[in-house]
């Protein structure tokens, strides 16, 4: 079953074709490609969230790269929330128009469920890799979300922990901004931290006794206080500060994940979302869970950030279960899993 996925929940416009919820036939994200207009010429680089302009060229490109015609598609999956309503609506309306015109089954997908589907995807020329067995534990860490979930079955999740304020990805990006590394600069912190000493600067270790809830806002405040006192560091001092700040975020994520493993008794863990690309988090989780005999599943970095292949993958499971959305499908800003 070949499913066209469409994603426009925040900054990126994306479309992809995925076969049977696993094999990625194409995966197009607007910020990463030069899009060709239908009658020649390249669409110039556009601001984020120009979904109306980008959605049709992105979908056409996804079909083109998959080598498919409209008639080869078996279904459509579109992100219906959570996110920006204005942005989501563009994808939802495009999906409904295509579904109506081509008489294709349509489902709306929760963006967060998409991130937890990324681990099951593989490129069409890539051999099968081990995937998590159900049920398993999910850690979803991105710019907008930081969640611990029991993943019970495809499309079935139970929230067991979350941040009370900033998301982990946001802490990275705002930290980078304070350090003069640009926004979003989470990836710059990751790079600089690789030559820094994570023990150099003490940061608070919040939420020690708050169960599975997390908090990252205090780290931002501590960084701000530090910078007021010492001024902007450079070179090795900057690398040390990046490593220490990153270390505090990663330590909390790992500590809460281990606590979730203890509480649920689950033996497999998957990590999704943009922060799953962070090398310190990947390394620290690897060390921490292998010591306990837990199997860790990490998606490749390119599937951590927002994409439509994960939406097509998640939508596949809803479609095979017979779920259908009609033309009243709407976008929802706040949509719990």
């Amino acid at each position: 079953m070949k499913v066209l996925g469409i994603e426009s929940s925040c900054d990126e416009t994306a479309a992809a074709v995925v076969e049977d919820g696993q094999r990625v036939l194409s995966d197009v994200v607007s910020s990463q490609v030069e899009l060709h207009r239908p009658y020649g010429g390249v669409v110039p680089e556009l601001a984020s969230r120009a979904h109306v302009v980008q959605v049709v060229p992105v979908i056409r490109e996804a079909l083109h790269r998959a080598g498919l015609a409209w008639s080869d598609l078996d279904g459509i999956a579109v992100t219906r929330g959570p996110g920006l309503v204005g942005a989501l609506l563009v994808g939802v309306q495009a999906a409904k128009a295509i579904a109506y015109a081509r008489q294709l089954p349509l489902v709306g997908v929760n963006h967060l469920e998409g991130h937890l589907q990324a681990i099951f995807l593989r490129d069409s020329d890539e051999p099968e890799h081990p995937v998590p067995c159900w049920p398993h534990l999910g850690l979803l860490v991105s710019g907008g979300h930081t969640l611990l979930l029991e993943c019970l079955a495809p499309g079935q999740f139970r929230l067991i922990g979350a941040t009370r304020d900033d998301a982990a990805g946001e802490a990275f990006d705002k930290g980078a901004k304070m350090l003069g590394l640009g926004y979003p600069g989470g990836m710059v912190i990751d790079r600089l931290a690789q030559v820094g000493d994570a023990q150099a600067v003490p940061f608070p270790r919040p939420m020690c006794n708050r169960g599975l809830d997390m908090s990252f806002s205090g780290l931002k405040t501590a960084l701000s206080a530090r910078l007021q006192k010492t001024g902007q560091p450079t070179e090795q001092a900057l690398a040390d500060l990046c490593a220490s700040f990153q270390g505090a975020i990663v330590e909390q994520l790992v500590r809460k994940t281990l606590l979730a493993i203890d509480r649920t008794g689950l033996r497999e863990l998957q990590v999704g979302g943009g922060v799953a690309a962070n090398s310190a988090l990947r390394a620290a989780l690897g060390t921490a869970v292998s010591a306990r005999g837990i199997t860790l599943h990490l998606p490749p970095r390119k599937r951590c950030t927002d994409n439509a292949a994960m939406i097509a993958g998640a939508g596949y499971h809803h479609l095979v279960q017979g779920e259908r959305a009609d033309l009243t499908l709407n976008a929802t800003a706040s949509l719990p899993l």
Binding site: A47, G143, D165, A333, S334
Partner: protein
């Protein structure tokens, strides 16, 4: 005025939340870590957002909506590059929706600021010290005495 702790900030905000009317706009400004999200958490409680609902930072999502007695829309313009993006965002739609809008980084787009609003300026005075100054614009001026009437 001085804000002595996050919980004091939230109590003060909750009291304001109880006084707000549909369409009221609260503008929050101040550096990262000055207490803006903390204040909105208290405001949400005052508006009747369920205690179980987590009020998180809206920077990445840009807009977060919370259903309540009076719905709360939290808008963060930190990541908006230019005023034309406000149209795509549906900025005016939110202002006219009858919800209470709490807007961060509105000072980046002075031309988009609604004439009736309460402007809250947060400042960091030390590791644990935060201050808040309040300015009322248009019909929101009278909110200040209702809210802080008994306070120094």
């Amino acid at each position: 005025m001085n804000l002595h702790s996050p919980s004091a900030t939230q109590r003060l905000a909750a009291r304001l939340g109880k006084l707000l009317q549909p369409g009221d706009v609260i503008e929050l400004s101040g550096p990262l870590g000055a207490g803006k999200t903390c204040f909105v958490q208290g405001l949400a409680r005052g508006l009747g957002v369920a205690r179980t609902t987590r009020i998180t930072s809206p920077t990445f999502n840009i807009v977060l909506e919370y259903p309540a007695r009076l719905p709360l829309v939290q808008i963060d313009l930190y990541r908006i590059a230019d005023a034309t993006e406000l149209i795509e965002l549906g900025f005016d739609h939110y202002l006219e929706s009858g919800a209470v809008c709490a807007i961060e980084w509105l000072e980046r787009f002075p031309e988009a600021a609604p004439p009736h609003r309460l402007s809250l300026q947060f400042a960091i005075e030390g590791p644990k010290r935060r201050t808040l100054s309040v300015v009322g614009h248009g019909r929101c001026k009278k909110l200040i005495t209702q809210w802080l009437g008994g306070q120094p």
